[in-house]
Symmetry: C2
């Protein structure tokens, strides 16, 4: 029997099994474990603001095990009626801008107001290197210790789309666990900002003041997405530069047509390190929420985001099914060559491939 039940409960060969490790006990422990991952209990614990249960549910969402997928979906379904009640804030900025310090200071400020804050991340680089931002939690020492804060590093995955799905579902779980503010951090790489923008209510761009020419080299489209730009490290000798940068960013923002939200993006100064200007940023976010709730843009945007993710998921799946078919892969290369050689047109090649 000892050999049959190769279990961690069994300590050493030759030692007789104690009463607690007899087969009925083992069965009872196994049952308890089953109970622990029982979906209904998990949902109840999440709704009861149990952080361990929340972590476990996010792990299920991130898992690649097909069995877990089913459980994850059931858990999300159970949490959904209790979700959608937080303010979702996207924060981006290039490395060195002080994102971690900012999120720590901003998060602490929010918990000091009695808010519960969850911090998630989308990091497309982690899909390649399997590393992750927020991975080094020591960068947010104070916030990690705060019982009203929950920090979760970026999920890793094969594609940004996969990571995005996991983060979107984690938002739902965090909201069901009663978090009032969800912060989604991202680093300015690839399509990550666009991805985060499509799942948050408010998009905050962190910048540094340099030596003029602030707008040079800013990534395309980022300015258009920002609901506010916070110029960080605006302290000491930097303050003068930061004020000039504020003028320049304000000028640039005014060049864009009015946003559908009717919101005029704001530019503000802050020093996360010295805890300056943080309250003003929260005030800006609240003003935004007030305006967009009043003009119904807030809910309309969330509905649009849901529709976007539905259509996006379907389209991605259709495309990947098609282009990953071995036959298509092979023929696609041939057709591209024929196009380059002026022997066929893109349209004729497309219909040829579709016929296959």
């Amino acid at each position: 029997m000892a050999k049959k039940n190769k279990s961690a409960l069994e300590e050493k060969k030759g030692i007789s099994i104690s009463e607690i490790t007899n087969s009925s006990s083992i069965k009872s422990i196994q049952n308890k474990r089953k109970v622990e991952v029982d979906t209904n209990t998990l949902i109840a614990s999440i709704l009861n603001k149990d952080i361990t249960a929340l972590s476990r549910a996010i792990t299920l969402v991130e898992s690649k095990n097909p069995k877990h997928l089913e459980k994850a979906n059931a858990t999300i379904k159970g949490c959904l009626p209790h979700a959608n009640k937080s303010i979702r804030i996207g924060i981006t900025g290039v490395p060195g801008v002080g994102k971690s310090t900012f999120i720590e200071t901003f998060g602490k400020y929010l918990t000091s107001l009695g808010k519960r804050v969850a911090v998630l991340a989308i990091d497309p680089t982690s899909t390649i290197t399997k590393g992750s931002i927020l991975g080094d939690k020591t960068r947010m020492e104070e916030l990690v210790k705060d019982e009203n804060a929950f920090i979760r590093p970026s999920a890793s995955g094969d594609s940004l789309g996969g990571v995005a799905r996991k983060t979107r579902e984690s938002i739902i779980l965090c909201e069901a666990a009663g978090f009032d503010v969800i912060i989604i951090e991202t680093v300015g790489v690839g399509q990550s900002e666009t991805t985060v923008h499509s799942m948050v209510d408010f998009f905050l761009l962190l910048k540094l003041a340099g030596a003029g020419d602030e707008l040079q080299g800013i990534k395309r489209g980022i300015m258009e997405m920002a609901d506010a730009i916070a110029i960080n490290k605006a302290d000491g000798d930097n303050l003068k530069h930061a004020r000039l940068a504020k003028v320049e960013f304000n000028r640039a923002l005014h060049l864009y047509p009015e946003k559908e939200s009717e919101w005029q993006p704001k530019v503000t100064l802050c020093s996360a390190l010295h805890n300056e200007g943080i309250d003003a940023i929260w005030k800006i976010i609240l003003d935004y929420i007030q305006l967009t709730t009043k003009n119904t843009y807030f809910q309309a945007k969330r509905n649009d985001q849901n529709k976007f993710w539905l259509i996006q998921t379907i389209e991605n799946q259709l495309k990947s099914d098609f282009f990953n078919a071995p036959k298509i892969k092979k023929e696609l290369i041939k057709q591209l060559q024929l196009i380059e050689d002026n022997k066929t047109t893109p349209f004729a090649a497309a219909y040829y491939l579709l016929k296959l």
Copy 2:
């Protein structure tokens, strides 16, 4: 027999059929017609710079008759080895900017240099109203009469994608017919500029000088696509405004990161009505062609455009096949409602629909 052969060759009941309309003559005329649309002859005529043959081939490309589609494809295939030798220029600008006058003056300038110029158009509004830009050829009186110019109004179609395909294929036919410069006109509506941008070598944006605030309200993305901005109607009292606008546009263009083409977009003044600054624009285009030919961007861009159209056509077809299936149409509405009611997530809904 008179009743049997209801033909236009028959003039009136009761009048006997003349020798020329006897059955063997009719057969011979029908055979001649068949010969006229014979693909090989059509191709040979196009290569021989026969404008009537070119027009007929474009009509085949634009036709919705499945029989014509086959002939169109065969004609394009025959023309392909002789295509790809022109300079393709996209021209856009809001109504009132003077596009027609500009294209007339620019086109005449090019034919005066011995160039052969074809003018096509992409007009997404024509897919809705069935009208078309360039439809009123009287707006280009001089160019229409020029034997080295060919003007074709925008194809109409059910979708911008359909119109785009027809225009892309018309470009090939025009090139095979020996046109050195192909101008694609579009009006700043919907996605039309992006569509034109994806099929030309050089993208020219026409603007007017207003009362300052030139950049306010400019359509997103347009500035980024422009290889040159020509401020039209820069004459008389307008000249001062136009010069100020030039400074402002130059400033704005410098805010964008360097283009992959290594080309720094130019801003220039012109007056199409008074034939001023037109030669400078052609000089800019030639400079661009020289730079991008040297750094190989020119051909690389065309290859990318071909690949883009191949992938785009496949993806559009996959999507339309999926979303136009009656079962999906019905279920999609239901799933969207379930998402709004917090009863499912976009991802769960997507996989539910994909399973169907």
